[in-house]
Amino acid sequence: MYRYDEFDKSFVAARAAQFRDQVARRLKGELDEEQFRPLRLMNGVYLQLHAYMLRIAIPYGTLSPRQLRKLASIARRYDKGYGHFTTRQNIQFNWIALADVPDILNELAEVEMHSIQTSGNCIRNVTADHFAGAAADEIEDPRPYAEILRQWSSLHPEFSFLPRKFKIAVNGAAKDRAAIRVHDIGYQIVKNEEGETGFEVYVGGGLGRTPLIGHKVRDFLPKSDLLAYTSAILRVYNLEGRRDNKFKARIKILLHEKGAEAIRAKVEEEFAKHRDEALSLPDQEIGRIRAYFAPPPLPVHSLASASVEKRKAADPAFARFIEQNVVAHKVPGYGIVTVSLKPIGGIPGDASAQVMEAVASLGERFSHNEIRVSHEQNLLLPHVALDDLPEVFDHLSAHGLAAANRGLVTDIISCPGLDYCSLATARSIPVAQRISERFGDGARAQEIGELKIKISGCINACGHHHVGHIGILGLEKSGQEAYQITLGGSGDETCSLGTLAGPGFTSETVIDAIEKIVDAYLKLRASPDEDFLAAYRRVGLGPFKEALYGRA
């Protein structure tokens, strides 16, 4: 993974020192809240319902065990012993004191981490698919490009006061595991006929109160042009994006209002002007960054492990875990292990300090010192030898981390919602917990198969409900929590936005509603191989509407 050089270290240290001074001046009153707010947001410090929340960047979701242990230590020392992994591969701490943030930033800097640009009207954490550098189906590792974008976008003087936040994602396989089509810019790695690497470029995707799917503006952008083209997009956005209305300020609105073709033409014009200047990326430079992401030395083993097969035959729980949570690695004899942070009835994406330390140990012992965070709020051990799986499974089980539910109905994405968030209109976590308990950890969830439920506690859609196979949006109606259900969303390469099923449900009726939808699916699916999304796309909303409301 990327290692800070002297420039990076002094950059982060300087930023931490600067913020320490800003906090001191705020506490003394030399800065008022209006002056201070944009400064604290640029350092990922939010004021939530109960305390300050600190959002720490985990660049493209890649962590070392040392970093994860530091996060555990911060959880213990400065918070209430836990953290929350987010839908943008970051971590949030919910109980932070402003006065402690400068010390926390110093501790983060010790392990090459920071909270820079995790909020504010700037370029945020560049995310990548969580199987990067490991997956058998990968075209090329997206992380070097994500790292290049990260360095370029950090404290970029021209792009630090954008009309609104800006989110970039990079995906490295044909399967879109990074939801690039609902990002402000999505980069899809492709190879041209000459075998050269480049990107399909999507612009103007996003969720929130106006969900929109990104437009493809380029079939092939040569890799050397990555920064010049990104800069061109940002320049057009910076100039033309709306600043009169916070809710119309994202680039997706610009494309929607001015037309994608018109904006694309402006971007191409800007790009043509500055293409071969300072931002051109020579192969040598890409290679230099790529060297940080060199795959670990993984001696090839046989595709099947005798010890795994033996254990599978004897232990059904282990067999289920292998089937559901372990995915093929590009190197024979290895697997990518998903560590579910969705225990049945648990809080999605939350991890105690103890859990973080347990996963850090597993990363050291079994995954070549690498851990990943997915935007689906789980952790991963990306390089596990199949022969080690029985031992890994036993360790996970001992810590309550062996829920074999990757992608199943209980692998729910949920934002913090009204239990924590000052923007929320309803609670989301209790709904997730109750759905999880309703379906449980047994044969029923397995029978249902892949079903992605995503829950947002307000219209800002941090829970990504628009791209849930089943999406749930929590609102407030006449002082009561009210839940709208959408169906048929997907964040992958077949990207679609969910359709509203009909009138909303109360906190008391929404769980039954979800169960009715699932039961309807089980009845109408063509076979057990037809998953929920495929079935929905085949039959449409009608049968589900009827199941929910007794009428089509």
Partner: protein, 115 residues
């Protein structure tokens, strides 16, 4: 009926304006203003505390009195007063694999009609 609430600047904790003008973490310690006009006047005073860098974002919270004491009218303010409605503190690790889900021990799960 109203109380005045805010977040403490140093740590973001929810606080309520007490009878002697200091800020307390407990809703029960909050001074109650029977009429909105009085509450509005007190809020203006609370803005001064914001300028003194004790608190941020002072606001009115409408409350009622019931058998258990003061109670905000909205779920949001109830959560601010009581904390999250979920058992968020880490508990002992439990091995759950292979078991069916059980009823969770959620602290006081409120439905939409929480009042």
């Amino acid at each position: 009926m109203y109380v005045i609430s805010a977040n403490r600047l140093s740590d973001g904790a929810v606080v309520y304006l007490g009878p002697r003008g200091s800020w307390a973490k407990s809703l029960a310690a909050g001074k109650v203003f029977p009429a909105k006009a009085e509450a509005d006047a007190a809020l203006a005073g609370a803005q001064a505390d914001a300028s003194r860098n004790l608190i941020v974002e002072p606001c009115l919270v409408e409350v009622r009195m019931d058998a258990a004491g003061l109670r905000p009218l909205t779920l949001r303010e109830w959560i601010r007063a009581q904390g999250p409605t979920i058992d968020f503190l880490p508990g002992p690790a439990k091995a759950r694999h292979g078991q069916h889900g059980h009823e969770s021990s959620q602290r006081e799960l409120r439905t939409g009609s929480y009042a």
